[in-house]
């Protein structure tokens, strides 16, 4: 497998994440899509940091992972609050501000 094939794999994972974020109705499913996209970016960083002695790609991958964890925690707290207010996690029914 050449580097190009691996890059195409990560592009595929990214596009599936994009598709999930665009089409699913449930907010937690959209969060799953965002996680997939972040993971695809990580895969690219690790692929390009092969044979690179200073390992900057792997450092970037580690920092992206921590940011993804922080993002998930905050997003789930907000979704939990929305659920408590609207009694649903369906984004079609969350349609008013300060209601």
């Amino acid at each position: 497998m050449t580097t190009e094939h691996l890059l195409i794999l990560s592009a595929f994972v990214f596009c599936i994440g994009l598709f999930i974020s665009l089409t699913k109705q449930n907010s937690i499913f959209i969060l799953i899509g965002i996680e997939l996209m972040l993971n695809a970016a990580n895969v690219n960083f690790v692929i390009f940091s092969q044979n690179e002695p200073s390992l900057q790609g792997q450092m970037a991958a580690i920092f992206i992972m921590v940011i993804a964890a922080a993002e998930t925690a905050v997003a789930l707290a907000i979704l939990f609050k929305i659920y408590r207010h609207y009694q649903t996690s369906d984004l079609k029914e969350v349609n008013e501000l300060k209601g």
Partner: protein, 165 residues
């Protein structure tokens, strides 16, 4: 074809299959479990590519942290009793068009790139190097991300706290 190359092909196929499963499933719980499978196989791919530390952090942070959070989110926000944990799709055609066009663009871009064929692994024992990098070159990013994580977690628990009646 050597062993690690065959393993890479198999694992890449499993990642692609898991992603397709994620896109077509309607059950949230199946989606969470499939996401766990995808993350674990990607961690295996990192190890094959010579990035052991990133692979282990992937298992600890993503599978152990993020996925547990997502499963907790599913359990807290879905009415389990008498109600299916299912979701439906909408805007399928526009979503397919946008993501398909983006994929086509990326594949075109990758095909026009000229990358040297560096699939063999030469970085031996990357873990000590990463440790040294973390406290010398990347110390500012390391400290900043520690504070960011602290702020995010405290903020998350403050947001999710029930209001006083």
């Amino acid at each position: 074809m050597e062993i690690s190359s065959i393993g890479t092909v198999i694992m890449a196929g499993m990642v692609a299959a898991g992603c397709i499963g994620l896109a077509i499933t309607k059950n949230l719980f199946y989606a969470a479990i499939t996401l766990m499978m995808v993350f674990l196989i990607v961690a295996g791919l990192y190890v094959v590519w010579g990035a052991e530390f990133v692979g282990i952090s992937q298992i600890v942070v993503y599978v152990g942290g993020v996925l547990v959070l997502i499963v907790f989110g599913i359990l807290l926000t879905q009415r389990i009793q008498g109600y299916k944990v299912e979701t439906s799709n909408y805007r399928i055609i526009p979503g397919l068009i946008v993501s398909g066009a983006f994929f086509y663009m990326l594949v075109n871009l990758i095909n026009n790139l000229s990358i040297g064929n560096h699939t063999e692994i030469s970085n031996e024992d990357t873990v000590p190097q990463i440790g040294v990098n973390l406290v010398t070159e990347n110390i500012l990013a390391f400290e900043a991300i520690a504070i960011l994580l602290l702020v995010a977690l405290i903020g998350a628990s403050t947001i999710a706290k029930p209001e006083k009646e």
